[in-house]
């Protein structure tokens, strides 16, 4: 094990190197680009024994990924924003065909207007594709989660692809100290992918990606729901196993001072680091406040959330995305599944900095609510 200072993109690339995928089809896009660059170099330097497929678009990146995973090997790809939107159709196919590969998404706003900075609209817009989505808070978590994502996705009870979501620029281009696990430990944690459900071998022909009529389609989709349900336990188990080997404990969610809190913030990704500081400040002032960081957004860990928020009075959800007429996606999911007084806040769109003041404003507006959904930091002229 070594410790190095690196960006989250480098951390993801390191995880990919350690996970030993055999095919890497990837197309550059800001702010994911450095992942594709690091991996190209690793392959060029024989640090990864993989075919790096220099595709001509994200659509082909994900298509080649499904083809390679369907053929039976471990696969990695990465993208961001417009690239993920271009992949949209094939994301559904990847999940439906049960190809368990991993995609890192450098979270970035969606055009128009064109914007290269961070929010989470891109991956949120893919939430119904049948992928597992895990949002990370820092570079270490990006590395660790990428490794765990393979083990979770490849679990025979899951067999759905995973999306590791890391905030564009805030994480992808910011350096932090990261512990890089040694290969031997990773190999122990993550053995080679040996698919049983689908592969392409002339010695044992099978047909993959077939046509299903109304007699079968519903059951095929329901089977994905069962897999998604199964993944809740698999994620927790994988996190525990990871902690045993590597000493860092993760979960479906990460509660912080929620036990006795009256108001709990709920958020995903790097924003949680800022909220944690505010929680401490408010606690110093005698406020009973906490934070629930959602790591697994799909599957939506309802029981873990219920447990974490059971004692609170109100919940303030901060979303870096928006569903028109409804509010943030996390907010609306919370409203559907959690029986509490919940308020939604939209912030940080297109890279607008979410300052401590914004979070304090959300806190005040949860204490004394004006409306159910509030856009924070809106410049109203």
């Amino acid at each position: 094990m070594v410790k190095e200072v690196m960006t989250s993109n480098k951390a993801v690339a390191e995880a990919v190197r350690l996970a030993k995928p055999q095919v890497i089809p990837v197309y550059p896009i800001t702010p994911q680009t450095t992942i594709s660059e690091y991996l190209a170099q690793y392959v060029a330097d024989e640090k990864i024994a993989a075919k790096y497929v220099k595709v001509e678009s994200e659509h082909s990146a994900i298509s080649a990924a499904v083809g390679a995973s369907g053929a039976g090997v471990r696969v990695f790809t990465a993208t961001s924003s417009q690239g993920l939107m271009l992949m949209h159709e094939i994301l559904f196919a990847a999940a439906g065909m049960r190809t368990p590969f991993v995609l890192a998404d450098a979270n970035r706003a969606i055009s128009a207007p064109l914007n290269i900075w961070n929010d989470q609209q891109d991956s949120i817009a893919q939430r119904d594709a049948g992928w597992l989505q895990i949002y990370v808070e820092n570079a270490q978590e990006a590395l660790d989660t990428t490794l765990m994502a393979y083990k979770i996705s490849e679990n025979p009870d899951v067999l759905l692809p995973s999306m590791v979501c890391l905030d564009g620029f805030i994480l992808t281009h910011t350096v932090e100290p990261v512990e890089i696990p040694d290969q031997e430990s990773v190999d122990k944690f993550l053995p080679p992918y040996v698919p049983e459900h689908a592969y392409l071998d002339p010695k044992e022909p099978m047909s993959i990606g077939n046509f299903a009529d109304p007699d079968y389609y519903t059951e095929a989709r329901y089977a994905m729901q069962v897999a998604m349900d199964n993944s809740i336990e698999v994620i927790q188990k994988t996190c525990d196993e990871f902690a045993e080997i590597f000493g860092r404990q993760y979960g479906l969610v990460e509660p912080y001072k929620t036990e006795d809190a009256d108001i709990i913030f709920v958020a995903m990704g790097s924003l949680c680091s800022t909220i944690r500081v505010i929680v401490d400040q408010l606690r110093d002032q005698g406020e009973k406040v906490g934070l629930l960081k959602i790591r697994a957004y799909r599957p939506f860990p309802v029981e873990a959330i219920k447990e974490a928020v059971k004692n609170c009075e109100k919940i303030a959800v901060i979303d870096k995305n928006y569903s028109f007429g409804i509010g943030g996606a996390l907010y609306s999911d919370m409203k559907v599944k959690i029986d509490k007084e919940i308020y939604g806040f939209i912030a940080g769109l297109g890279g607008r900095d979410i300052t401590p003041e914004y979070i304090l404003e959300a806190y005040e507006k949860t204490k004394v609510p004006e409306k159910d959904v509030t856009w924070i930091g809106l410049k109203e002229e």
Binding site: V23, P25, G67, A68, A71, L200, P202, F211, A212
Partner: protein
């Protein structure tokens, strides 16, 4: 000679129309390639008629993902096979004309340019047949389709067929050929040659479609033969940049003989037929037929 296997690698029981030309083409191609093959298909007639779950007509490993991406899917499959050391496995991708010359063009272009060791076969029936005969970039001048209909202000498709094999040739890949299901020996030889060549290969296979072209089902091969005999479809190959005609009709028949037998052309006036004849003459003279 076309080798007759003990068992076809495209099994019967598939849902292709009676007289389906695509089935003939795919059957011949798979039989020529043999069992050590992985097949990829774009969405379209072929995929829908051969893989209605839980039944598949594919006796070789098969994968389909979507309409516009069979080139990219094949790239991924090829990369996965090669990294596992399976260098001897044939990788063949099939796309209809819509999935190839229209919506799948970018994905295919990328696959060809990257040099994957694979064969792409476009089974060209000159329109979107699976969705009910809409025009594609491969629909020939004058043909009526449901989206290029004849009317008081229209004689049908008003643009010539996109020259896809030459677009592929412009990629500088080692092997490009045209073929017809009516000339099975020529086609099978090309498939075998394409498979033996290292690097990407492209075969553009014309296959008449009884449903979309409007002729009786027994005339599928006859129609393909007429296309070639009139010079409407020219059989050639380009091997490492060397162009050669692989079949020359003894005497080129007038295009009218080909057009008049198909419902899609039956409305054409002499003036349009003449235009088509001139276009075909020019094509033949350009390619040296």
């Amino acid at each position: 000679m076309v080798d007759i296997p003990d068992k076809d690698l495209l099994a019967p029981g598939h849902r292709g129309c009676a007289g389906c030309g695509a089935s003939i083409g795919v059957k011949l191609a798979l039989n020529a390639l043999g069992e050590n093959t992985v097949a990829i298909s774009a969405t379209g007639c072929l995929e829908v008629m051969t893989t209605p779950y839980p039944e598949s007509a594919w006796e070789v490993p098969f994968i389909h993902v979507a309409f516009e991406n069979s080139g990219a899917v094949a790239s991924g499959v090829e990369a996965a096979l090669r990294i596992q050391g399976k260098d001897d496995v044939n990788v063949v991708a099939f796309g209809g004309d819509g999935g190839t010359v229209d919506i799948g063009l970018q994905s295919l272009s990328g696959a060809m340019e990257r040099g994957h060791n694979m064969l792409y076969i476009c089974y060209d029936n000159e329109a979107y047949m699976n969705t009910g005969i809409q025009r594609s970039g491969a629909t020939p001048f004058g043909a009526t389709t449901t989206t290029s209909p004849q009317g008081s202000a229209s004689f049908g498709e008003d643009k010539p067929k996109k020259d896809m094999p030459m677009i592929m040739a412009a990629h500088g890949i080692p092997y490009v050929a045209t073929a017809s299901i009516a000339y099975p020996e020529d086609f099978v030889n090309k498939v075998k040659k394409a498979a033996s060549i290292e690097g990407p290969a492209y075969i553009h296979l014309q296959q008449p479609c009884t449903t979309g072209w409007g002729y009786p089902s027994e005339k599928t091969i006859e129609m393909g033969r007429l296309a070639v005999e009139t010079g409407s479809w020219i059989l050639y190959e380009i091997e490492n940049g060397e162009f050669s005609i692989t079949f020359t009709p003894e005497e080129r028949k007038p295009v009218k003989e080909y057009l008049s037998q198909q419902k899609r052309f039956r409305h054409l006036q002499d003036e349009q037929i003449e235009k088509i004849q001139k276009y075909v003459d020019a094509q033949c003279s350009e390619l040296g037929l």
